[in-house]
Each structure stands twice: as C-alpha cells, then as structure tokens.
Symmetry: C2
Subunit: 352 residues, 2 copies
Amino acid sequence: MNKEQNTFSGSRSALAHPPIVQMAHGSGGRMMHDLIRNFFHAHLVSDQLQKGDDAATLAMGSSRIAFTTDSYVVQPIFFPGGDIGDLAVNGTVNDLCMCGARPLYLSAGFILEEGLAFDELERVLQSMAAAAERAGVQIVTGDTKVVDHGKADRLFINTAGVGILEHDHEMGARCLQPGDQILLSGPIGQHGLAVLSQRQGLEFSGEIISDTAPLHELTASLLAECGAAVHALRDPTRGGVAAALNEWAETSGVEIRIAQNKIPVLPAVQSGCALLGLDPLSLANEGKMLAVVASEWAERALQVMREHPLGRQAAHIGEVKAGSAGWVSLRTELGAWRVLAWPSGELLPRIC
Amino acid sequence: MNKEQNTFSGSRSALAHPPIVQMAHGSGGRMMHDLIRNFFHAHLVSDQLQKGDDAATLAMGSSRIAFTTDSYVVQPIFFPGGDIGDLAVNGTVNDLCMCGARPLYLSAGFILEEGLAFDELERVLQSMAAAAERAGVQIVTGDTKVVDHGKADRLFINTAGVGILEHDHEMGARCLQPGDQILLSGPIGQHGLAVLSQRQGLEFSGEIISDTAPLHELTASLLAECGAAVHALRDPTRGGVAAALNEWAETSGVEIRIAQNKIPVLPAVQSGCALLGLDPLSLANEGKMLAVVASEWAERALQVMREHPLGRQAAHIGEVKAGSAGWVSLRTELGAWRVLAWPSGELLPRIC
C-alpha cells in the first residue's frame, strides 16, 4: 500500500511538471514568466532581454532606437472589435510606445495554414493596413511561409517594430521608486472577454468588444508633458494588470499597492467575469496602459491622459511602497488587504 | 461527350486555382511571388515592400538602418548540419548582409506547440545562441506563444533583424545593369537536399549537410574592397538560384545569362538530384551568396570572395544583358540555350 502510494504520488508529481511545454506556459502568468527566465534568458543571454521591458532600447549609429517583437496566435482570428491583423499592428506599436519610443516601422511575418481562404487573408491584410495607418507606422518588410493543413491554425502573424527614442531619460520595469503613483488609462478586461465570448459562443447582456487600439498619441502626450517624471509604462496584455504589476514589483524590488474600487471595469465585463469565475485583473487588454509617475506629477499625468479619447476614463489606482519587496497588495472593496498574485494556470490561452 | 469534357476541364481548372492557400504558395516559386504581389503588396502598400529586396533600408534619426524578418517552419527541426535555431539566426543575418548592412540586433518570436519537450527547446536555444555569437549579433527582444497540440508543428521561430548601413550607395534588385557580371560564392543545393534527405529518411552516397552559415564577413569584405561596384547581393534560399535570378531579371528589366558548367555543385548533390529528379538550381541554400558586380570589378570581387573560407569555391557564373528583359537564360552543358524558369509547384515545402 505504501509502495503503491509512493508510486502514485511519484507519477502525479511527474504529471504535474512533465518536461514539456504546456498551454499554461503561454498564458502570461507565473509559468510563462518562469519558462522565459529558465530557458530564453538562460540561453539567449542579453542585457536587454534581462531588463523585463516590452522593447529593447539600443544605440544605432548616433540614434537611439527601440526594437520589439510579438507573435499573434489569437483564436478565433476574427472577434468582436478586431481581428488578428489589427491586433498584430497595435500590439507591437504599443510595445514600442511603452518604452517611450515613437513607432516608425513594422515587419510582418505570416505563417499560413494550407487551405486558408484568400478572402480571409485579404480581410486580415486590409485590417493591418488600416491599423498601420491609424498608428502612423509603415509596414516595410515581410515574409510568408505556408505549412501543411493541420500544422498551424489558419494563420499566425509575427510583427516586429522599430521606433525612435526622442528623449534620453531612463524608464522601465526597473525604475519604480517608493512614493510613485500608479495610473491606469481606462476600464480593463474587454479584449480578453471579447475573444473568449467569441470562441465559446457566449452572449453577455452588454456587448463586449475588444479595446484593441494604438496608444502612441497617449504616450507621446504623457511624455511631452511629464517627461522624466514618467518612470514606467506598460500595456497589460496577457496576464492582465495582475501580471504587469507583479513583474514590476519583482523587477524593481518594491511593493505595489492598489485599490480594487479605483479600478475601472465596465458593468458588462464585471457581470461576464462573475458568471465565468474570471478576474478582470487577469484578463488581457490591447488598448490600455499602466503608468508609474513621480508623486508630484500624478495629478497632471492623469489630466493629460483624460484629455485623449483613449484615456477618458483614466484612474489613479495605487502607489509604490518600499514595504514588502516584490509583492502586489490589493485593498478589496470591503477594505481588507490581500495579495494580488501572478495569474497562474491556463487562464485564457491564445488571447493574442 | 463535348459537354462532359467541358465540365471536366472546368473543374480541373477550378481545382488548379481554388481561392485558398496551397503548399506551393510557400515554396519560393512563381506562386509565392504572385501571392506576395497580389495580396501583401496590394494591401500593405509600402515603397520598401515593392522594392523586392531581402531587407528594407530606412532612415532612423541621422542613421540609415536595414530591417528584415523571416519566419522559420523547417521540418524536421533538426537536420544534418543545423537546426531551426541556427537557421533562424543565419537566415535573418544574411538578409541584412544582402542589402549591404552590418547586422547588429535580432528579435526572436517563438510559437511552441503544447507538448514540445523542454530538452528539444533547449537544444534549439543553444544553437541560436552559438549562431548569434558567430555572426556577431545580439538577440535583444523576444516573445513566446503556446498553441494547442496539433495546431503547430513542434516549434516555429520568427526572427527580425536590424543592421546599420555604413555606406550610402544604392544597391539591390533594381540596380542590375547590362554588362554586370554574376558571381556565386560556392556550391549550391546542400541545404535543400540535407533537409529533404532527413525528412524522407534517404541516404546518399556522400554525406550532404546544410550549408547554413552567416555571410556577414564575406559581404563586409566585398563591400570594403569593391564599394559601389557591387550592384546587388542575394542569398538564394527558397526557390534557389533560379528564383533569385528570375526576381532580379524581372525587377531590373534585364536579361540574365548563366552557364550551367560554371555553377559549382558538389558531386553528392549532383547525384542526389539526379536520383530524385530535382534541379540544384531550384534548391534552397542557407550560406551562399549571388553577387552582381560591375564588369571591371568582377575579377577583384571573385578574388575577395575566394579569400574567405565561405567563398573558397566562388565562381563567375554569368552576366547581365539588355536582351530579353525579364528572362533568365541558361547555356546547358551541351552548349544550347534554354530559359531558366521560375521554379513552380510545390518544390520542397518547409525547407526553412
């Protein structure tokens, strides 16, 4: 009996951590974070990769540029409010914006599944072209691969982007300081819930559409007005606000405290999440921004964000403390404090 | 009978051109060329995309940079002489070199299939790291997505690259002029045949291994020695030398004439191709270069190439004529001239 128990618990533990890639490794939570540290950072050693920012900032001749990449595998490829095409443009544009760069050029790499209909491909390309125009970027280089039917899922898109840094102050995940204030540009969770509802054929009372949008104007105004007082920016995509704040807290070695009742969430998202047992804080966003701003500039920064259509509902949601380094604390609606952990497990796979 | 014939020929033609993506659209031949023109160029309009070069050359602040991307879907992911990891580094490095840039930074986007073994991932990452070191580039930004088992094929990698242009002469697919000479850096066809033999479990008399290698030193010496006399460079990957020359002839509106007996092909590749009914001119290479050089510089350029280990067997294979604009002519071993057409059909899918 003892032996059997041991054998059983042995296999259970092996099953819990088999040495293979699982869906949860792609979901933006703790497992993905660990995979990236243990494999990608361990082998592809680069100071830039270690920084934990959305884009690398690099010297290029006499200029400073930002460089980033993302692959898009969202399923389904068309969803309320957007599709894989505009997502692939906006996502990469936003990663450049988040390190304070002005996005200029994108590359686009397509992996097409044999059998993909030309008219679907065309819809996606039209949507990319429109998104690029809106974001003021040019798609300047591309690549197309085709794989056998059943070896991809209709189409995957990779975009990489380069932008120019027109300021020289240090900002990013390592730059949070005790006393800094945390701002959020608008209500959260729409993108994650829109994709999920389309995938599962769910209908909610209010229409939920993805918030996919380029944030270049919002970040440009913020940096123009508040300059070096902006210590970090992040678009909370996979893993949502919870993952973004945890990564910041860990990288800067600070505590982040936020108040649940300050976080804007649309009623339809609130009730959809309640129904499905999801936390809006862990849902992906594709047109929202978290900003860390020096305390004395917080009011002005909030004002600047609210002046832009994409920041109309911006909110001051919390602050940075020396406190428990590496932790995110959430004051619940009832006034109690709890730890806001890294999202774990599968969450919503293939959300972007 | 007549009606039946018509019906039959009607459906055949529909089958030949269904409005869907086929494997042949990814093989580097005429169908891929047309897909790119009719879809990608039609929608993602950009002067850079229209140029038909391996990389875009762009102004960035006061610097000029090159920017390129490629996705890698090679199957199998490990093959004689290399794997998907070093291929993903060398391929993108070479695209930057081919527009005369010095490669500096790469991005790496991974699409992992659920169930991929960690030790395979690790082997690929080690191989990427070694290739990056050899090519003198840094991998500075990355992304990881996971898709369900059966929705990808173990792993796909996208790399994008940026490099700096340290000269300012115009070169590329549009710059071929009558009188220019065509050089080839070494024997062709190894990569294509190595991947194919691994995939099909074939064994040839001589060992055939992929030629995957970074060409940055070769292009740097060539440009340092011959400068603006170098009118175009191209690494003949998918579709091989045949596709590269056809694209040049079409883009520059010139005729290209080459001599079959001048083209270096290893005996093992020659016999492997004879056995399988393949043409070495249509096989992919991953460490070879075609160069178009002004006539009076051809001898010196050939010498420079032969001084580098990767150009030891460089050959002068042909020349550019005003003649039949858009065509590539091949003088066969027997002295007859024939058209060297765009490779068509499936060729070898998923070769890179």
